[in-house]
């Protein structure tokens, strides 16, 4: 027969050609290319189901409005007292950081959904890099997180928040937030692979985020907490991220003195280290789990 069915370039894989024992090792370049292809697929999905992205933005915007108008003025900020304007500045670092962690749920639900459908068999039967299905998803979530941050920054600007430390530090703050959010998508990936239902992955990706983000310095300074809770809040990596972006945005009140614990004294380093550690550990676990998933 002639025509399209036989017209494609045959792969140079003759029968019983001597397979090299290392043929399993797919290079970094191919891994990156495959991940970008999968990322593109996930971004197209996000564009075509915009509800998910839009709802993802509503919550942080609501938090900005609620916290700055409802709580503002009733929470004591070290160095600024009960000043409403100071709380608004102080608050934004917390909301930014909390927002990027919500990417966990999206990544988890997306991967759980893929695992339930036939499409995962298609991917697993293709000569593509093993981690690319997961990495591609986390790349797409990173893009979504970035878009959400931009929208949130605009809303924050409208309610009076400002970055005071110049473009370099401002970009560094957003970079740190994106890194932190990216780390959380790998936690989400592992959750999605473990629970294997999109609904469970969504709630499983969110429940623990509330204690994590609230037992922190994000909304209330640790000085206002009971003594036994203070070290928990200060060593919470989420707090380090929040404090780091506050520093980089210049959102801390004049007289603010950070608590004495190490992550509070070195918040940028603490946050970056934590993000990298989470990525390395959870990526490894998730890719292993993916490979075993249906075997």
């Amino acid at each position: 027969m002639t025509g399209p069915l036989s017209a494609a370039p045959r792969q140079p894989t003759g029968p019983r050609h001597a397979a090299r024992p290392d043929d399993q090792r797919i290079g970094f370049r191919q891994g990156l290319r495959d991940s970008m292809i999968v990322a593109k697929r996930n971004l197209l999905r996000m564009i075509r189901i915009p509800e998910i992205v839009i709802f993802g933005m509503i919550q942080p915007i609501m938090f900005v409005v609620l916290f700055s108008y409802v709580f503002g003025g009733s929470i004591n900020i070290p160095g600024a007292g009960l000043d409403r304007e100071a709380y608004r500045e102080f608050l934004m670092g917390g909301i930014f950081a909390q927002t990027v962690t919500f990417a966990t749920a999206g990544a988890g639900a997306g991967i759980a959904e893929d695992m339930q459908k036939g499409i995962i068999d298609r991917f697993r039967s293709l000569p593509m890099a093993r981690g690319a299905v997961l990495t591609g998803r986390t790349f797409a979530d990173l893009v979504q997180t970035a878009v959400t941050l931009v929208v949130l920054a605009i809303v924050a600007f409208l309610v009076g928040w400002r970055a005071h430390e110049g473009p370099t530090k401002t970009l560094a703050a957003f970079g740190l937030l994106l890194l932190f959010g990216y780390a959380f998508t790998w936690i989400g990936a592992l959750i999605g692979l473990t629970v294997r239902s999109p609904e469970a992955a969504t709630s499983g990706g969110l429940v623990w985020l509330f204690p994590l983000t609230f037992i922190s310095i994000a909304f209330v300074p640790s000085e206002n907490m009971p003594g036994w809770l203070q070290p928990v809040a200060e060593w919470n990596p989420f707090s380090a991220t929040v404090l780091a972006v506050r520093e980089l945005f210049g959102n801390l009140p004049e007289g603010y003195r950070a608590p004495d614990s190490w992550p509070m004294q070195n918040p940028v380093l603490a946050s970056a280290l934590c993000s990298v550690a989470v990525i390395v550990f959870f990526r490894k676990q998730a890719v292993r789990k993916y490979r075993q998933a249906t075997g």
Partner: protein, 346 residues
């Protein structure tokens, strides 16, 4: 030398269930093997092992001359898989789906695009190419899935129940595509519950049940195993049933079957058409009126029944539980089974 698809002693258990219980398969290059069996027989598990989706507990398998367990990624470069549940992304267009799969087969973006266009045209999807797959009908989704499996014109193809759930028109269309594909020289392993499908598409058939291959051969070989041709006649007048049966006994070979209430008689007829003609002449000469007469070749259904004692499509060897909807009217089903049992016991 082992064929393009080769498996030896595959075993896979899920908890207490032995999904594969020593499956052996050998498909010579350029031929089609039909893996025929009911739900839960182990067909899909076999395909999953051969397509690197699942590691067997025991046994070994080679596809395109490569060990599936040692070189899974090399194997993936040589195979195309089309499944029972169309593995396409609902939110991507037909074109985007095919381009993505092409690129993940490591074609360049340009080659993937060209190939996607060709296949969309070939599979009658060109008009729907820029609509999301969500809007496709069942038949279109299946065609898109098959197109995805053909992106690189792989030398070895696996199709897991490609037409399950399709209406007759779409099934016919898909069969034609598969036939073309096979004519172009690909090796194909096809699983099916449809005996007609295996009969039409496969060079050889392996019948699987409870994780084992219980019979193999060409369609004709399997059919002759279950008794060859049968002359069947429906006598108009019940009173002359005995007389007609006497004729069949004389002209046929072996025991006659007789179903009183449908006035239907049957006898093995190794002489085929010649025996049929003789029977017609004789009955005519005796003035016995016939409502229907014909030469029935045993179907693969008969083969399956005679091999396993249960019908293809049933989940186990038991009769369907009361309330379960069988394929035909219950008495019809029972009757067919009785007939076959009789035939087997001869």
């Amino acid at each position: 030398m082992p064929g393009a698809i080769y498996a030896e002693g595959l075993v896979k258990t899920f908890g207490d269930v032995r999904a594969l219980d020593g499956v052996d398969i050998d498909v010579p290059e350029g031929t089609v093997l039909g893996l025929l069996g009911p739900n839960g027989a182990g067909k899909t598990t076999t395909v999953r092992v051969l397509t690197t989706l699942m590691r067997p507990d025991k046994g070994r398998a080679e596809v395109a001359g490569l060990d599936v367990l040692k070189y899974p990624n090399e194997v993936r470069r040589s195979i195309g898989l089309s499944g029972q549940f169309a593995a396409v992304d609902d939110y991507l267009t037909g074109r985007e789906n095919l381009q993505m799969v092409g690129q993940l087969y490591q074609l360049s973006a340009r080659d993937a695009k060209r190939r996607a266009d060709e296949l969309l045209e070939r599979f009658n999807l060109a008009e729907a190419a820029d609509r999301t797959a969500k809007t496709y009908s069942g038949g279109m989704r299946r065609r898109l899935d098959l197109a995805a499996a053909l992106i690189i014109s792989p030398p070895v193809m696996f199709m897991d129940e490609p037409t399950t759930g399709l209406d007759p028109m779409n099934r016919q269309a898909l069969w034609e595509v598969i036939e073309e594909l096979v004519a172009s020289g690909a090796t194909l392993l096809l699983t099916t519950q449809y005996l007609e499908e295996a009969d039409r598409l496969a060079d050889t058939i392996a019948v699987v049940d409870h994780g084992k291959v219980i019979a193999r051969g060409t369609s004709d070989e399997l059919k002759s195993q279950s008794g060859g041709d049968v002359v069947e006649v429906v006598v108009h007048d019940r009173a002359r049933l005995a007389e007609a049966e006497e004729v069949l006994r004389r002209l046929g070979a072996g025991e006659t079957t007789r179903v009183e209430h449908t006035r239907k008689l049957g006898v093995p007829a190794p002489g085929g058409a010649r025996t049929l003609a003789e029977v017609i002449r004789e009955l005519d000469a005796l003035g016995i009126e016939m409502d229907d007469i014909g030469l029935r070749r045993p179907t693969l259904d008969d083969v399956f029944l005679s091999l396993t004692g249960h019908a293809a499509g049933a989940d186990g060897g038991e009769d369907p539980p009361p309330g379960a909807a069988p394929d035909g009217p219950p008495d019809e089903r029972a009757r067919t089974r009785d007939q076959v049992r009789k035939k087997v016991s001869r």
